[in-house]
Amino acid sequence: MRKQGELLPKDFRLLDAIIKKYEGKKEFLICILQDIQNVFEYLPRQALIHVSEKLEIPLIQVYGVATFFKAFSLTPKGGHTCTICLGTACHVRGAEKVLDKVKRSLDIEVGETTKDMQFTLKTVNCLGACALGPMMVVDDDYHGHMSQNKVDEILKKYSSRF
């Protein structure tokens, strides 16, 4: 079993393939990091160092980009990602209440992962599906017209814990 955050030789080959896809061009740093995040679900430290060396960008700059954009995470994610939309339309329809309920059910704050690594809780500013608000997304499944009373029922589908 690999240690958390440790990359194997095949992972580096994968990183090189991603970098090659963008011809090793500096201006594609964000796209490269997005692809890496898609593979690992977060940005491992070693991957950032590798990208910095290959693209010849100082690590501090790579780190700057990785921490500036919301799409990136420097810590590993849980098996499922639960995202609550906090767009204005969802907000006025009570998204905050749904978020509070999810926080209570998972017993974590936004940005955190449950101890058993099952769920990570995130928020997003707007998914552009305002007609169906409040919105909650688990992995790639969208759940519209949410209310706090529906939360546990939905989480149940993803984990036996509920």
């Binding site: 964000i30 997005q34 509070d100 500013n125 519209g144």
Partner: protein, 618 residues
């Protein structure tokens, strides 16, 4: 696919497509290919129709057309049966058989699937009879109805790329710019800068190469018209960009699109590929000798990247921090080269203007705001959806005539426009004509077109706090007024909503707001205090209630409300007791229950679930 080499070939191609695909066959139109349609189960409905037609051996006699967003998101998935244009709402898999046997085979209308107008209670059979569509002018969005966004031929069939061919062969770049200037088109992303003028500056700017950018980083929460355009009619945006590039003298373009819009990215990628195959993109476009390519760049999820200089920094692979615009981006933008950036909706307007002429276009709208604008009408409103209206339409026409008013008989309180940079417009200004100038005068702004309707249960202090917190999170941190000022505003607003404030706080908020407005580096910071200042201006009483009486009239601010049970209304059904996460509710079945305020965490679960209005929020 064969490359199209001149305008005549394009016309021949269009005629062939029309002959092959568009006979007088009956057709089932289904709004499927957009994010919200998918979420409403549209895919299943399409499959059920395909299967159903096969079972009746009708697959060759009846076409199925899947389109992008039809605008009326509230009633999706929408099914339209042509040629009569019968509209069915919220269609489910189970309904498809009945639609086939009744409407398609026997020309009988399935009454239960018709849309019922909330105000009059009338049933509507066609789009034309729906008040939602009646008052709109859907020149841009309306085309979605005819297009499967994955099929370039559908776009060509409705005269797609005709404007491009026309421009490349018959109009000089300078004259294209003149036409756009004459049309009066202004930036639809929010700034409202005259598009033609921008193009003129970009053309005149010294430097090579020049870049063209489509800003699809639609960050305003509650606005999704750009997503729907990219998902439903990507070619109109591409065609607009090519025309713009020709006018300016650029050969390289970028679309910067939000990472949260995977379907839009997908449709756009597909559209670019198809346009390249026909020779509308790439080298020697339509045989004219003009070259232009488009690349897609996905954003990283930062609101500030909707700002042009931040967007360009991000395109260069850097953190999306804006810079001061002493030198405009049309002179020094992406990689310090002249760059022309326009919003998705602006680009989509360009082919329309070329096709129908600046004279026609400039007749729509008001004195200084021409054409139509797409708004996303969301929040506490009956007919949620995307509405395209002529500039200058009155706010009440949008909210009551098109939007169908407020649900559940609640009272209208305000409408928020312009996203986090905008403001809240109160009921007293409901007759305000909607255009760039009038919205700014009212202390709000056009923005990208989000219209979030609020009712009596929305707390305006909470809304102001929401936006300030939003912007505080999204502030890039480069300049002090925005980074520190918003933090302080957030603290003061939190104090007000928690009952820990005094009279001076309101003055301090106003003062701080003015300072941030005057001193922040970019438009994000400069407009950040708008939601606070506009709510203080129009809803001062509500602030005062929080500060002086420690009361939240709308019943939103948790620290200021308490839940109790109305003993006369409670039937003792036990629903609330089951929902309460704190076991704060006690009582015997069939008798009125009681809430223990010491245990209650004010989550509101009981309030949401009670069917008898027996939970009191005070």
């Amino acid at each position: 696919m064969k490359k199209v080499k001149n305008p005549q070939e394009l016309e021949t191609l269009r005629k062939t497509i029309l002959q092959e695909k568009y006979s007088e066959k009956p057709c089932i139109i289904i709004s499927e290919k957009s994010t919200c349609c998918y979420l409403s189960g549209s895919r299943e409905v399409v499959e059920a129709f395909e299967e159903g037609l096969k079972n009746f051996d009708l697959q060759n006699q009846i076409d199925i057309k899947t389109t992008g967003c039809l605008g009326f998101c509230e009633i999706e998935p929408i099914v339209i049966i042509e040629p009569k244009g019968i509209v069915y709402q919220k269609v489910k898999r189970e309904d498809t058989l009945e639609i086939i046997t009744e409407t398609i085979l026997n020309d009988i209308i399935v009454e239960r699937l018709l849309y019922v107008e909330p105000v009059s209670g009338n049933k509507c059979k066609t789009e034309e009879s729906m008040p939602f569509y009646k008052k709109q002018s859907r020149f841009i969005l309306g085309n979605n109805r005819f297009i499967n966004p994955l099929e370039i031929n559908d776009y060509i069939a409705i005269n797609g790329y005709k404007a491009l061919a026309n421009v490349l062969y018959k109009i000089k770049p300078e004259d294209v710019i003149d036409e756009i200037k004459k049309s009066g088109l202004r930036g639809r992303g929010g700034g409202g800068f005259p598009t033609g003028k921008k193009w003129e500056y970009a053309r005149a700017a010294k430097g090579d190469p020049k870049y063209v950018i489509c800003n699809a980083d639609e960050g305003d929460p509650g606005a999704y018209m750009d997503r729907s355009l990219l998902e439903g009619n990507p070619h109109s945006v591409i065609e607009g960009m090519i025309i713009g590039a020709y006018a300016i003298g650029s050969h390289e373009g970028f679309v910067y699109v939000r990472n949260e819009y995977p379907l839009a990215v997908n449709h756009l990628q597909n559209a670019i590929k198809q346009a390249e195959e026909y020779g509308f993109l790439g080298k020697n476009i339509i045989g004219s000798g003009f070259d232009f390519t488009i690349k897609i760049s996905r954003g990283g999820g930062a609101f500030v990247c909707g700002e042009s200089t931040a967007l360009m920094a991000s395109l260069e692979g850097k953190p999306g921090e804006p810079r001061a615009k002493y030198i405009h981006t049309v002179e020094k933008g992406l990689w310090n080269k002249p760059t022309n950036l326009n919003n998705v909706e602006t680009w989509a307007n360009v082919p329309l203007i070329i096709n129908r002429g600046a004279d026609w276009y400039s007749k729509i709208g008001t004195d200084k705001s021409k054409g139509t604008k797409i708004f996303s009408l969301v929040g506490k409103i009956n007919n949620t959806g995307l509405v395209e209206v002529p500039m200058g339409i009155k706010l009440n026409e949008i909210i009551y005539d098109i939007g169908g008013g407020i649900p559940d008989g609640k009272k209208f309180k305000a409408v928020q426009t312009g996203g986090p940079s905008g403001g809240c417009i109160p009921e007293s200004l409901i007759n305000l004509p909607v255009d760039y100038e009038k919205l700014t005068l009212a202390g709000s702004m056009m923005g990208s077109g989000g219209m979030i309707v609020m009712d009596e249960e929305t707390c305006m202090v909470d809304v102001a706090k929401y936006f300030v917190n939003f912007l505080k999170e999204e502030s890039c941190g480069k300049c002090v007024p925005c980074r520190e000022g918003l933090e302080r505003m957030g603290e003061i607003l939190t104090d007000i909503t928690e009952g820990k404030s005094n009279d001076e706080d309101l003055e301090l908020l106003e003062e701080l707001g003015e300072v941030i407005k005057d001193t922040a580096l970019c438009a994000l910071g400069g407009t950040a205090p708008n939601p606070v200042l506009s709510t203080i201006k129009y809803f001062r009483d509500e602030y005062k209630a929080h500060i002086e009486d420690k009361r939240c009239p709308a019943g939103v601010c948790k620290a200021l409300i308490e839940y109790s049970i109305d003993l006369n209304k409670c039937t003792g059904c036990g629903l609330c007791l089951k929902q309460c996460p704190q076991d704060a509710i006690t009582g015997e079945k069939k008798k009125a229950y009681n809430i223990d305020p010491m245990k209650c965490i004010k989550c509101g679960a009981c309030y949401d679930v009670c069917k008898f209005d027996a939970i009191i929020k005070k």
